[in-house]
Symmetry: C2
Subunit: 532 residues, 2 copies
Amino acid sequence: MAGSRLWLSLLLAAAFAGPATALWPWPQYIQTSDWHYTISPHSFQFKYHVRSAAQSGCSVLDEAFQRYRDLLFGSESWQRAALTGEQQTLEKQSLVILVVTPGCEQLPSLESVENYTLTINNEQCFLLSETVWGALRGLETFSQLVWRSPEGTDAMAYNKFNVFHWHLVDDPSFPYESFAFPELTRKGSYNPATHIYTAQDVKEVIEYARLRGIRVLAEFDTPGHTLSWGQGVSGLLTPCYSGSQPSGTFGPVNPILNSTYEFMNTFFLEVSSVFPDFYLHLGGDEVDFACWKSNPDVQAFMKKKGFGNDFKQLESFYIQTLLDIVSAYGKGYVVWQEVFDNKVKVRPDTIIQVWREEVPVSYMKELALITEAGFRALLSAPWYLNRISYGPDWEDFYRVDPLSFEGSPEQKALVIGGEACMWGEYVDSTNLVPRLWPRAGAVAERLWSNKVVTDPDFAFKRLAHFRCELLRNREVLPKVPGCPCIRIIWSACPGCRFLPTLGPTPSENLWRRGVQAQPLSVGYCEQEFEQI
Amino acid sequence: MAGSRLWLSLLLAAAFAGPATALWPWPQYIQTSDWHYTISPHSFQFKYHVRSAAQSGCSVLDEAFQRYRDLLFGSESWQRAALTGEQQTLEKQSLVILVVTPGCEQLPSLESVENYTLTINNEQCFLLSETVWGALRGLETFSQLVWRSPEGTDAMAYNKFNVFHWHLVDDPSFPYESFAFPELTRKGSYNPATHIYTAQDVKEVIEYARLRGIRVLAEFDTPGHTLSWGQGVSGLLTPCYSGSQPSGTFGPVNPILNSTYEFMNTFFLEVSSVFPDFYLHLGGDEVDFACWKSNPDVQAFMKKKGFGNDFKQLESFYIQTLLDIVSAYGKGYVVWQEVFDNKVKVRPDTIIQVWREEVPVSYMKELALITEAGFRALLSAPWYLNRISYGPDWEDFYRVDPLSFEGSPEQKALVIGGEACMWGEYVDSTNLVPRLWPRAGAVAERLWSNKVVTDPDFAFKRLAHFRCELLRNREVLPKVPGCPCIRIIWSACPGCRFLPTLGPTPSENLWRRGVQAQPLSVGYCEQEFEQI
């Protein structure tokens, strides 16, 4: 296949032989030799090729060079490999980077081309990529090839996850601090002093992600899952009725009022400027019609519009209006599958996210239906990391073949990615990290690697290595052969790879029934099913 | 009921009213008032009553006074309660302890009486108990009644767990460092330099537990689950055969050789002196007969002994011999339920631990059968904390009523306790703590509290408070209303309650298929079903 959306493919022409088993996810193509090369902290450099379109001054690569330099040589604990086989010192002691596409892109996008070719042999140590984002992926691979390299990068970048899907608000709490509507957090968050995302927090997350080639996809889910919005914006939610009287409870966003759309207009204008990614996630899942049905004003509106008793038409009315608002701000959007299932009329460029495993149909069938209708699809249904079970469930995640539904090659080309997600009902900082990693890595490899890479034993070895990297902390542990990392608890591990700091999580009460999801998504490599 | 085995019953006559909701497990009897009392770090003292059988010099209580003093006043962050209602300063500013039983017991035992009565009113602040162990439980309750009291005790003591069942060795690793057979760890542990329990580690665990009134029940499981033993003791395991040839693999302990029993004799002599508790856990679970069946020498032995093809008789032969050895060292013993299921002839004082939920019969039926046969039973089947599932499964643990099997009062009196267990297949230090707590607390309350204490909402409030205590760290967190503890990761939390340090855990490779279980058990309060 060809075209600008060819991304995430990997090509690695030659590599250090021994530690290639440390690679995760496994490259699309790899050729190894028995040669080992030694690089020295005193002379090794990352260099721009003289003909590279990106040169010194391109912040994404300049900062990555520094980060990976620290990663390779930064601590005294860096050790020379116990080399076997023939050994050479790399003549020029540098990794030369050549980026083809002119300009230094500031932000990764859905269309970013992330493939690269890394060549290490007697003649050269060379990284070729279309874009700076591909160069980032190649640098990560290079760092994984160097024996005992890693300390201090983060687990998403290691796995080449390239989208952080940030489900910012939900029923129990509204932690996103809005300029335009400060009452939303003041009245709708667990605690406006401590449990919110400030503007500064949001900026830091976006910048941290950007430098690692990770897009931030913000989700503001409506019209359902909005109970917390109602605290700060009176009249936004539908008053539910019990018989002829308001019951005192509230349902989804009220779709019959002009004031609702005025609010959404202003709110999404702000959101569109705060989050630079072209895409926003607009939610649309699990809209409960019961409250709308109970409300006489809604009933009258339905009659006036000629919707009969079909509340899906009312939902459609709301969502279409919202999509028009967001489109007017120059944004694209992702919605949950119910929007498609309920036959809401959406624009053809809508991306549909498939999250339900079996209802109303299996997720494979759902992918077939969505792509048959010509929409792009994103898959998360089989990869809910929060739905824990006993035993090594990473193998279940790993076994999924997302393109095994019945459909034409054109349909399969519409599956643009997958997502490993972690919803917050029973998760907070006490258990988030061990629940995310290394299991999320199984999804990353499924999405990045060739579909023939399915051997669980081969995967287990490398995944165990990745886990070991995550846990390594030589300050605490004696140096012993093998992985010396078992006894370390994450936060006591200053030298560990770490997650991006997300600022205060709005997780009061999360333990029982919570709010904050921080799903991670990864773009999908279309090419992986076509090369072999 | 009466007699010296009346233990774990609670009696709390009057208490600070407001914070009584912080109590966990809920006392058997409690009477509260609206009065609040203020205690001051400058004048408050723990005092022995002049007629107390235990006096200054009794290390368990002397050290507990210091520990709880630190707990109540130790940090600058101790705050005066925001008091409501009437308020008094305790006239004598002391908690007076009266222990009835003469002598200062050094070690808790199965027979230890742990009930107590704590009285706080205008006249007195008085703790009455039969033994020093009951006084420890009362001190814990006192500390939970003081507003914002706790920092720096450990989670087992908080929940009044009174036995630490230490499953020290299993198939993959033999980490217990034996004086008599040093090859066992040298050859049979994951790593003899780092992943073992030294003699010093074992001593520290026992002493740490003792001072908190926690018994250490050591398990050395035979004849199955012994693969790791075979590395260091040649000839100990049964060689398996494939047809007429040894296959090169090994099965359970070889029960037909004198050398086996000579080894066990020496090994258990050591174990009996290292672990001071009267009881040892001798295992006996999941003995696979296939290897024994394949071995011609075993077949010949079976013939000689007249066992026919009944390998349960061979198992019985092994276990009876082992029990005789251990009995000769003056020890009592616990075994897993298979020993009973396989009709192994054991001594009448054997304690049978029920761990299988449904096989061969439901655990309730199993309890009925065991107690009908006159044996004492210990229940862990419904409380495998390691078998995680999605959602708040603590409610399932909480709902169990361990005495709801059909049987006479005499049978029910034979159920001596229950155990919350955490097996190590998929657990190590990265996830142990959040997987143990606060869920283990649900088991503790089921075992300590009255059977009418079953309201999950009331339990949830107090369990959430307990979780908050576990997470509190004022150095890191701003002081905000409510539980200010959500963002803290355990190990970063110096002021937190912490678990006993168990020395290096033999957990290399635990993530996939592991070894080390650290079940916790709690004695069972027989009285709780008889008082009301």
